[in-house]
Amino acid sequence: MRFLFLLFMLFVSANADVYTQRLYETILGSIFKERPIFVFATGDAKATLQRSKIFSIVADCQESDVAILGDDFSLEQKCKNVPIFATTNRSYMYIADAFGAFYWNKGRPQIHFRKRGLKMFHLSLPHDLQRFIDAE
């Protein structure tokens, strides 16, 4: 319920950036238990995550717990054996191993999880998020 409310806030808020940050914290924070969570990120996502306390940006993708990739999917090569979380629909489609994605479409937050990716890296979702798992 808290999660839904957060989504709702995201939808209606003009200050979407802060809520994007919160959403990353909620989603990734509930999947990765270690603190801080070492992330490899680029672009907008990097700027957003830098403001968060639970994330720590790393320069080398191999040292990260999770890689957050946007449309620059060429970076996928650098992130072999690292769970990938996509920030656009395109990258989510392109990177078949990505375990999930979060992006905005028509002002609505779009959240996706893929069984394949989750299994590959032994990631488990909290109950709240399970309804976002894509059908095969």
Binding site: F8, F11, V12, A14, N105, K106, R108, Q110, H112
Partner: protein, 483 residues
């Protein structure tokens, strides 16, 4: 009582006015709220109607171009998709932010795009879509009817309008339009602000009115109190005046009594004076009767001398009778003013008292340099002069002064009586006009000068005062000459 009633009435009016004002304020607020919500509803309604038109146009456009099977046609022809998307783009403006068509993925509760009118970041064909308020979207499928919703909990900036595309009596997709509520919100906020201002203004007005009324009431109370005080002072003044009048009346009564007393005292003195006046004529009568007696014995009483002697006795008797009359007149109370000069006054007084004074070896000098005619209480003034003469006589007799004299002088409106009795001692000179003040152990009443002062000053409107000169006391009476 009247004032009290007025106060109560004004309080009554005050309360009624306040209640009426509050009621009308409430009415105005209600009307305003209703009107503003009517305006909002109307605006929303016209907006919805407009969107409805757009959606209908989009719907008929799609129906016209897709040979009765939307999804199949779109799947087959990329060109058709592009053409339709271009059409949708035309409807998309700043206000109609997103215009797109989605389809429920069969056998799930998830959605995917069929067409997207977005100009950039266009969603792909069959790309998944997670709407918000999913239930509303699902309901559009089941009810086959258009709907719109915003987010009631929080003032939403967006309103989503959903219209089902029906083919073969089946919903094959939903036309979704995200509509900006910015203008609507702006209006809503403006109306709210206005309503707030109106409320503040009305409250302020009410407040001011109440304050003014309260002050007016307080002021009225104050004025009432002032009036009451003024009334009390007036009442007090009246009672004071009454008291003063009472006292004055009492004083008059006392004066009357004192005058009575002094008159009685003077009566006593008069008897002495009459005795003096009568001594000489009675002696003469006695001598005449002896003469008659002797002539009769010597038989020398002829008719002529008998008549002469009888006439003499008659004359003397006449004189006695006249003296009595004079005294009677002197002490008769005349209520009316009469004309007199100081000469008349002095003459008639000396007629009464002259003999008795002269018998005591006191010279009486008169010097009249006044012919003013006073219209005044003559008899009372005679008593004053009599008093002054008697007092002088008393002091001269007591001190056994040699060459004693009393000088009576009238100059214009002044009457001066002086003696050579040594004057009034300085330590009592202030008190000699007080009632019952006397230095005489025998026969002193202390009323003579008090009575004289009363007559001169109160009755006749003049003044009387005393000074001492080198020889004795000087009493000066001044009468108002123009009366």
């Amino acid at each position: 009582m009247q004032n009290n009633f007025f106060l109560k009435k004004s309080f009554y009016i005050f309360y009624v006015t306040v209640i009426v004002l509050i009621l009308s304020a409430v009415y105005i607020f209600k009307t305003f709220d209703k009107t503003s919500s009517d305006i909002e509803q109307l605006t929303l309604k016209s907006n919805i109607e407009y969107i409805n038109n757009i959606a209908s146009n989009v719907s008929s456009l799609i129906n016209k171009k897709t040979d009765m099977n939307l999804v199949q046609s779109l799947k087959k022809s990329r060109a058709l998709r592009n053409r339709l998307q271009e059409d949708l783009e035309m409807f998309q403006t700043k206000r109609y932010r997103y215009v797109y068509v989605v389809q429920k993925i069969p056998n799930t509760i998830k959605f995917r795009f069929l067409l997207d009118g977005a100009k950039k970041d266009k969603s792909g064909f069959l790309e998944s879509f997670q709407p918000f308020n999913t239930q509303q979207w699902l309901d559009t499928y089941t009810t086959k009817s258009a709907r719109y919703f915003s987010h009631k909990e929080i003032k939403s900036l967006w309103l989503t309008y959903l219209k089902p595309i029906v083919q073969h009596n089946k919903v094959v997709g939903i036309i979704a339009i995200d509509f900006s509520l910015n203008e609507y919100n702006y209006m809503h906020n403006t109306l709210n602000d206005l309503s707030f201002s109106v409320k503040i203004f009305m409250s302020l007005l009410l407040f001011i009115f109440i304050v003014v009324l309260i002050f007016a009431t307080i002021d009225k109370k104050r004025v009432y109190l002032l009036k009451k005080q003024a009334q009390e002072i007036q009442d007090f003044n009246i009672t004071l005046q009454n008291k003063v009048d009472e006292e004055v009346a009492k004083n008059r009564e006392k004066d009357k009594q004192i005058l009575e007393q002094s008159r009685l005292a003077q009566m006593g003195e008069m008897i002495g004076m009459i005795a003096h006046q009568w001594r000489q004529p009675i002696n003469a009568i006695s001598a005449t009767s002896i003469a008659i007696n002797m002539r009769a014995q010597m038989e020398t009483l002829d008719q002529k001398s008998a008549i002469e002697l009888a006439d003499k006795i008659g004359e003397l008797t006449q004189h006695l009778s006249k003296t009595i009359d004079d005294f009677r007149n002197f002490f008769k109370e005349t209520k009316e003013k009469q004309d007199m000069t100081y000469g008349d006054l002095i003459q008639s007084t000396l007629d009464i008292v002259g003999v008795s004074v002269k018998n005591k070896n006191i010279t009486i000098d008169t010097d009249i340099q006044s012919d003013i005619v006073f219209h005044t209480y003559v008899n009372e003034l005679k008593q004053v002069l009599l008093n002054l003469i008697k007092n002088a006589e008393d002091v001269l007799e007591e001190k056994k002064i040699e060459n004693a004299f009393i000088k009576i002088k009238a100059v214009e409106n002044r009457l001066i009586v002086r003696d050579n009795g040594g004057g009034v001692p300085e330590d009592i000179i202030e008190k000699i006009f007080d009632p019952y003040f006397s230095t005489k152990t025998l026969n002193g009443t202390g009323l003579g000068l008090y009575m004289s002062k009363t007559i001169v000053e109160t009755h006749c409107g003049g003044t009387i005062r005393v000074t001492n000169d080198t020889e004795g006391a000087v009493f000066c009476v001044v009468l108002p000459s123009n009366k």
